[in-house]
Symmetry: C2
Subunit: 367 residues, 2 copies
């Protein structure tokens, strides 16, 4: 898994079993690998410029995939696991717009993932399952979120309403009413996860991210900024909905740079991030008994304590407490999607993505 925050490659080596529609998994090994500086800055450039030349794109497609391949080879060595049956490979999202738009005389929704499953499969000599989002969008869905299928099978409770809250670059929620069926799962992106905070940390403080919210805690909320950010339509838009850096990028906040204290700006952006989560839970995912937090944001004690303050009625736990390392959750989920693809099991949740039917997501290279 490589997410929109471009912080690198998360790898989880898992063993799955299934019996009569019940699944279980064992996490054998997990770890994080950094992109090379060259690759990371090129990815950042292209994603922020939103354009590239064809030669760079073609080469980047392979260079990015090679770094994934190297990380997997290292993971195999570090874990001592050499017999990998298949790799679930998300790819790096370069564009994601599931809303249909007029284009070339058609009405087109699209998603675009960098990375070649065919190349990865060939260099690893292993099956690779990839391109998980395209077919859901072709069926009228959002192509996201896809992790709720994992949440449904592994976090649902018989006697509690559970929310799985992932705070990656973007924040998203899976709402699992107690003992619900698959078509009762509600899930959607809330708004920014770490992405806006990271941008402020990088542009205003020259650090990669705001560790434990140490920077945000030194500032005050600026009402002018906060009040403007919360008017973004996406926040209160009814699910199904999904978003990305097309909406939540530097252009939202840079106009405030220099006008206010940088501590106040990052505090306000952090507060807006929490607001987007809390507001979406209030509007679309309640009542909730337990919130299971994952993603990089689960490590940010500022965000966690703000959430605990604002949602007093629910238990808030970090997914690590359930035996799933928060940084590895999405990687585990895509390993699970890959496992299901090999069995031909449908993995999108039409109630979540809005697709017209369920389908086994992904393509298998190398069989």
């Amino acid at each position: 898994m490589t997410g929109t925050s471009l912080d690198g490659i998360d790898i989880a080596i898992c063993k799955f079993n299934s019996f009569q529609n019940k699944y279980n998994f064992e996490l054998i090994w997990q770890g994080h690998f950094c992109f090379s500086n060259q690759l990371r800055s090129l990815l950042l450039d292209i994603i922020s410029n939103k354009s590239t030349d064809l030669k760079t794109l073609s080469q980047l497609n392979i260079a990015y995939t090679n770094e994934i391949a190297n990380a997997i080879e290292q993971a195999k060595i570090k874990s001592g696991i050499s017999n990998i049956e298949a790799v679930g490979f998300h790819g790096q999202t370069l564009w994601h717009n599931p809303q249909k738009e007029a284009f070339c005389g058609q009405s087109v929704a699209s998603t675009f993932q960098l990375g070649s499953g065919t190349h990865l499969s060939t260099v690893l000599n292993t099956k690779v399952v990839y391109d998980f989002r395209t077919s859901d969008i072709a069926l009228g869905g959002q192509g996201a979120p896809l992790v709720p299928f994992f949440d449904y099978h592994f976090l649902k409770s018989d006697n509690e309403n559970v929310i799985a809250l992932n705070i990656g670059g973007i924040s998203n929620i899976t709402f699992l009413p107690k003992n619900c069926s698959a078509d009762a799962v509600i899930a959607f992106d809330c708004g920014p996860g770490n992405c806006l905070i990271d941008i402020c940390a990088q542009k205003l403080f020259g650090v990669d991210f705001d560790e434990n919210g140490a920077l945000a805690s030194q500032g005050e909320i600026v009402p002018e900024i906060f009040d403007e950010l919360i008017t973004i339509n996406f926040i209160r838009q009814k699910p199904p909905k999904s978003t990305g850096k097309e909406l939540f990028n530097v252009s939202l906040t840079q106009k405030f740079f220099g006008k206010y204290s940088k501590y106040d700006i990052i505090r306000t952006v952090a507060e807006f991030t929490v607001y987007a989560i809390v507001e979406n839970i209030r509007l679309y995912a309640n009542p909730v008994d337990k919130i299971v937090v994952s993603g990089g944001g689960a490590k940010n004690s500022y965000i966690l304590s703000a959430l605990r303050k604002q949602i007093e009625s629910s238990e808030i736990v970090i997914i690590d407490e359930l035996g799933i390392p928060s940084g590895a959750k999405e990687a585990i989920a895509f390993a699970f999607l890959a496992y299901c693809k090999l069995l031909g099991i449908a993995t999108n949740l039409p109630s979540v993505t809005g697709a017209s039917k369920s389908i086994s997501l992904g393509v298998v290279a190398g069989y």
Copy 2:
């Protein structure tokens, strides 16, 4: 099949059988479909500008694939064949550079095909085999040419040395010594096919192509242009070799526009096109008894008569005379590659592409 000349979509509906490593096919229906003007001009723009923004690329990936899907649906109606088992989908080459170059701290060769096999498979509800070139390049090959596998199985002769000469945007040769084994096949791109002639027809005369060489026949060869073009290293470079619009594009000829008669320019470019073919046969594919010509260039009587004049010792036939419509040959070949992929049969010829081993090319979406 949609080739580099961007003249549209070639569809062939075929039935294949195999028995003990012998294959046969029946061409059930074939036809050509034009791109919409909007799509074609956008593709031309992007390929000539060699760059794009990510949003356009992501949308174009789907819009292009939708036009392929529509063409296939029309082909099914026109042919009366509704039970298509699988589609072989080449995609539109946006970049192809199998030579390794330093990139991002790595040494990278790459090819990039527009078009989503996953999307096509989902909207057609049919298996789609696509991304045929990537794994060969990952194995150190050129990722091209791939049609020689078809030539080997369907054009090889027990008692004649045969050349299959395809004149599409680029011209390429498959040399099949009599009764040869697969690893004795020689095949490579010669140089420009119709691409430079088409550019001159479009830029100098405002027509899509030079029908039957009517324009070229009115001009004279300009030695200054001809002598410069034939010095291009690629022409005499030793196989394996492959090329594309990265080398043979408008920049080669536009500096001559206005300086010489437009008829003389197109004549010279046509003569250079023939020269590149003849020179490659002379250097790397002889002696030859029979040349089987296919592709759009097979319809250009000017090119054919120039070839016949310069290669007097060989019989030159158009592939149509063998029951294979020249415009459909590549489409049939990719249908054959798709058929072989479904059976897991290796389809690259390492002697041709330079790959380190043989592999079953392509990825299957939708199974």
